[in-house]
Symmetry: C2
Subunit: 518 residues, 2 copies
Amino acid sequence: MPLFPLRRIPSLVKPGQFLSRFSHSPHSSRRFFYGYISDSKMAPQLEPFFKQVDNSAESFIDRLRKAVAIPSVSAQDENREDVFRMAQFLATELEALGAEVHQRPLGKQPGKEHLDLPPVVIARYGNDKNKRTILVYGHYDVQPALKEDGWATEPFELTIDDKDRMYGRGSTDDKGPVLGWLNVIDAHRKAGVELPVNLLCCFEGMEEYGSEGLDDFIQAEAKQFFKDTDAVCISDNYWLGTEKPCLTYGLRGCNYYSISISGPAQDLHSGVFGGSAHEPMTDLVNILSKLVDAQGNILIPGLMDLVAPVTEEEKSLYGDISYTMDNLHESLGSETGIHPTKERTLMARWRFPSLSIHGVEGAYSAPGAKTVIPAKVIGKFSIRTVPNMESADVNKLVFDHIKAEFAKLNSKNKLDVWLQHDGKWWVASPKHWNFSAASKAVEQVFGVAPDMTREGGSIPVTLTFEQATGKNVLLLPMGSSTDAAHSVNEKLDRRNYIEGTKLLGAYLHYVAEEPVSA
Amino acid sequence: MPLFPLRRIPSLVKPGQFLSRFSHSPHSSRRFFYGYISDSKMAPQLEPFFKQVDNSAESFIDRLRKAVAIPSVSAQDENREDVFRMAQFLATELEALGAEVHQRPLGKQPGKEHLDLPPVVIARYGNDKNKRTILVYGHYDVQPALKEDGWATEPFELTIDDKDRMYGRGSTDDKGPVLGWLNVIDAHRKAGVELPVNLLCCFEGMEEYGSEGLDDFIQAEAKQFFKDTDAVCISDNYWLGTEKPCLTYGLRGCNYYSISISGPAQDLHSGVFGGSAHEPMTDLVNILSKLVDAQGNILIPGLMDLVAPVTEEEKSLYGDISYTMDNLHESLGSETGIHPTKERTLMARWRFPSLSIHGVEGAYSAPGAKTVIPAKVIGKFSIRTVPNMESADVNKLVFDHIKAEFAKLNSKNKLDVWLQHDGKWWVASPKHWNFSAASKAVEQVFGVAPDMTREGGSIPVTLTFEQATGKNVLLLPMGSSTDAAHSVNEKLDRRNYIEGTKLLGAYLHYVAEEPVSA
């Protein structure tokens, strides 16, 4: 419940809004529309919605239970039918709620042409030209899960423990958030409250397997089904901790590289040939050791010069963030952090590049001992990129450095280095009205100003939506840092699901009204 | 056929030999026993044996065909029965030839107690106190083989092509050489020539899977069944090339190490954590890069000081060896050799240590891209050892160096380094009478003095026999460098099998008589 003053309740805005929203200021709108602001009383339109969410909590949980029971694992061919079943489940639910729904086919799966890609479920709820149109994204496919992987419960049976933790594959990633949007419509209808925006949904079924085909689809629909979009909201990431919600305004990009070193025509016996031939693995570990030092400093000349300097304003965002070194140690499961403070730690994760060495293909990787000289080895590493690192510039510095280091070895082996894939970083203004609306919704529901966060990882669809629609994109997570997405015992806390449904709904009310900014 | 003068024909030696063999010189014996030495005529006892081998060639090949047809793959549980069948095949054949045969059980397989270890087939042919007793070793198990691995023919069907190459799993490794000894007895019996030595056989069935249980068996039988042994001969390696036989007098040892570096409690997402935590893989490639340089120089301080200096006499052995840089390039399938000359290349393989990095356990090793920070990685490397490197000294230098290099990294990760296994190097005197006898046999059969070689790899049973019996051990290969043991399309050339049978027989005649030396 709110712990401090409500600043404005935009959900009362009615016709006339379309003209007003581009001109009024928060203060003028507040004065214009409302007779009073109460510190303790809920505004009429959110209050019945919130109450309805509480009243419908069990049916919302039941909706999640049904969704979790469908093992829509996109990475496993044998579950493809289940992924389609999950699309149908969503479509049926949305239709029952009165939405216009389409299941859009994406064709055959590249490389597995016997498989159809799961459809993108798109929906429209409301078509009022006087309302803003908000496009929301989520995915209905899940990571693989087997009880024997170490799950304490059946992964595809939603199981609630005595601390109201709801365990099940997809509970937090991303079925809970997706159903959150359905719950919002549901509760509005049951409460008799009009949805203050037109809602467009884009729910995909291949997110956990590379979002095959989605980019082209979004690009095309940006001018069609999504053409009225005023802002985008994605709920597919997590709070920084467990207590305080966050809004996410930045993501690092990722340039993923392979270094191949080859010599002999086939693997050699190290007894027979050791000492007489240049060994690709020797060359490779040498090159890999020249990329990053043990303190995480990237050793590629010129790379750090591409990084935008930290501004004082930016620095000021970090102090208030609810995060401690203990949080880091808890998530690492060890005290092997590099930096001594939370500010430096978070900056290292969010706004500076990093370089990780992922592994080696072609060398001996099994337990035990094998005396092989691998004939060809491929080292894999990636660089997390940040403003203003352009992929082409990064590639040039990487390739030049690796070639120069290899030349120093005087090896007769053959070097190849190439970019496997890249994805650009994304940074939005946390002062945009899409964010300020979400910030108010967080304050309304959780009684606390959200952390303004970035993330170290990439969510490529974020950039796709931004580029395709030209609109601001907000990341508004529902789950918490302990939800174990992609791991065993994935869960979503009941609080995050139910209050999170309120948050998504409140966001729609605030964003309907938030004056233009940033 | 011989291309130059026969030097001596010891096979005429009859009773009286026991006394004479410790005193006579080659020249005195030759003068004593023979009226003349002919350049063109075969000595009576070898000539009928050789002729009989030629006459029996088809039946010897048929014997090999039957043996290859038994898929005695020791590494695969489902073939264990076949390994036992192969032992029985050998025992039956040896008994039919008049040998005393035992199949000695070795108990249950450690770690797989539902499996019985295959027996050691031991046999004695002849028990004449006036003759030398020669112990021969071979193995009757084989590497796995599947047609779909890339075999041009069925791996367990001996298939002879138009160049008389006999393809089949185990043809060269080591069923051909094992049957060579049986063929020798067979041909002597058929030719009515007495075997000039007592022959002891030790044929094992687990060589391709670690020779489980064999060491203890040999140690025990050295005082029992093998107690009369005067010299040992092992035929389980290969010529240096394809034309010229060799005798092998040295093997490198092998110390195999693991370096484990661990940090976080579980694998991390490189986007989320990259830059904020010490990464085990970063530390590991750094350590691995400090072990050996691209030119094969071992970087562990003090290690090269353990290596025995090269003597002038030793150097002189290398010039005549039939080997070229083209041979190296052919076997590498590339021109990525380190050294410019054959002498330096062979010394690097045979008499200097080498260090090879085999791979990394725990890192990402599949094709494709995965943005993981592995929580724990284990690097594997081994050092091929040579005189006078003692394992304990090597371990200390390795451990000290790695710990010192890790300390320099200032990483909070955890380092462990340990020896996985070690096996000592072996060097015999190539001037011992066991070798000089074999050398004469090579000259007799192939008309050329053999190359005196060492090998870079280890054949641990060699050292076991030397230590258990206290006698000289000779490695007398039958197959050539192109036989592809352990690979697809393993083969044994008909010439190597048939002339090789003559060689083994001739060796027994010469070794029966060779005066004591070295």
